[in-house]
Amino acid sequence: MKFLMGIGEGFREIRAHKFRSFLTMLGVVLGVASLLAMFALTEGIATGYREVMSQMGGLERVKVRVEPVPAHQESIRELSPGRTYKDALALRMNAPLLSWVSPELDLYLAVRRGDKAETFEVIGIEEDYLHTERHNLEYGRFLTDIDRRDHNRVCVIGRGVIERLWEDPEAVPLGESVRIGNEFFRIVGIFQRYESERDKKKRELRAKEAPPAQGPGAKTGKRSRWSTFRFKNDVVVVPITTFTTVFKNTKQAGTPDEGAELKLDDLNVQVADLNMFEEALAQIRQILMVTHRGIEDFSVETRQEMFDEMNAAMRNLHMSFGIIAGISLLVGGIGIMNIMLASISERIREIGIRRAVGARSGDIFGQIVIESTVLAALGGVAGLGAALLLMKLLVAISPVQNRPVVHMSAVIMSLTFAVGVGVLAGLYPAWRAAKLSPIEALRYE
């Protein structure tokens, strides 16, 4: 009852001094706006990170790396066959904690279509590759075990290859052939285009404005910027068996530098359950120790460190933005306190009159705190509006890669902060007002 009246009183006071209240609120408005903007920006950056990380195969992807033989094993190095296809088979057979095992061979080769030629990474793969790399097939089919058995000259290509060898970047050249190195391969499948949410929007907008130019001389899609997405788009995959016979024959088993067996260029696996991550790593090491005959010429590389670093970077970002926003809110709070102090010394007589007709010092205290809280809350709501408008503007015009994202929790947090600042800023002036004796207040000129 008294509380509601206090709020009414607060509004009346604000209305009576519109301009002054507006100036006071400005501090809180800016504070809340920057707080919310900071939440939104960091959230946007975090979303961007998460997108990239997920495209890179997430935390589940683990790579088996080749390492130099340790010094104490130098004399017995001949015992290890190195990272071979047999490692992949052994892992697949004996490591139940892994869901996919992808042995890979690769070369950078010229890919030709008609009179156009570009160099792409050409990878010899098995079916598991689709899962470890988190690829999505948009058209056609993926490579199969039959392709592998028959050494079929078929390939699946990324959207980046089409963008640079075809006139129309949206072409679907299933069944057509491209020349890879000196051999022709039939295209049986096409991966989807990988891009950030923002690039996608931009591209769709461009496509709406100007339909792609066709015919001779038309510019083909230019190379996208360096990014995870580009690596995923500019790729040609063929069956690993075909790759061995067609491209790696010079490096076949028995040549002096390769040793007795064909070595892999890459070996990636996917851990089935992240809760069993450490156990899975141990399993990989155990199995490879057997196939490498005890020679420690390999390591297991996880994304853990990279993820940790990214998370730490996000924390730092939150912190520094948070400090900036905190400072502006503090400034806003000091503004309110200043105004409340000015307002009470202007109203000491009023306070005296209220005391004379029966207000307790607690009533006066409450009234001042409520007033300053109402002021801050109004400023907070206005700041919210300003921030949302600002976000719209940022999203629309800024070339920032990481689009700001506004979460409800950020809105609630910012408002809570504003109200908290109002309460805190009101405490000191309220105490000053409440401690005056009635007669002191009445005599005040």
């Binding site: 005296g352 009159i353 004379a356 029966g358 010092s361 009445l442």
Partner: protein
């Protein structure tokens, strides 16, 4: 038992080395229903005495009882309640809140005694009617004459139906004719049973009061 009792009350202001004895050993009893005029030269301590009777100020020494409350020893909240329930105070300079209209000003004491909104309204209207301002309920103080302002202040003093009404030179800021109507109001209040004490310079008013308290240099003579 008397309604108000003061025993050996001293109010001493210390300004550096100098000691000002605004009240210097005042003992006084005022009974229920009395109409007392407090007179004396300027600086004799009349206002100081009124502030102590009105629980607005505290004594330096001595005992003060209002009704059944020992206000010389009561805490701040107890004093506030006594001011609110037992005393209506009228000032020379009206002391209305400029941003509130007549009705809201009169309602103010009821706000602090926790009376519901509807009852506040009806009691304030009644008090405003008693001072003859029913047609000005929604005016702000700066739209009223001095005499009207003082009548609003009297309505505010009445609204909680206190037993005691105190006034410190209520006609000091008014011309003699307007002052007359204000003083008539006080006499009426006295006749209705309120205990009234007022500070005045008007010899006629003083003569009219049944009791005169003369004060000089902080002492009752």
């Amino acid at each position: 038992m008397s309604l108000i009792e003061l025993r050996d009350v001293r109010k001493i202001y210390r300004l550096g080395e100098i000691e000002i004895r605004a009240l210097d050993g005042v003992s006084l009893e005022i009974h229920e229903g009395e109409y007392a005029a407090i007179v004396g030269p300027s600086g004799s301590g009349k206002s100081t005495l009124m502030h102590i009777l009105g629980c607005l100020d505290r004594v330096t020494e001595g005992y003060v009882r209002i009704d059944d409350v020992d206000v010389s020893r009561a805490g701040g909240d107890r004093l506030a309640r006594t001011r609110n329930e037992k005393i209506g105070f009228v000032f020379q300079s009206f002391n209305l809140l400029p941003r509130l209209n007549v009705l809201e000003n009169v309602e103010l004491p009821l706000v602090y005694s926790g009376v519901s909104r509807a009852e506040r309204r009806s009691r304030a209207l009644e008090a405003v009617g008693a001072v003859g301002l029913s047609d000005r309920t929604h005016n702000k103080p700066n739209q009223l004459s001095g005499g009207q302002c003082q009548r609003v202040a009297i309505a505010r003093a009445l609204v909680n139906n206190p037993r005691i009404i105190l006034a410190d030179e209520p006609t000091g800021a008014l011309d003699s004719k307007t002052g007359r109507t204000i003083l008539d109001l006080f006499r009426e209040l006295s006749q209705r049973g309120h205990t009234v004490a007022l500070v005045t310079h008007d010899a006629n008013v003083a003569a009219e009061a049944r009791r005169q308290i003369v004060i000089r240099d902080g002492k009752i003579v």
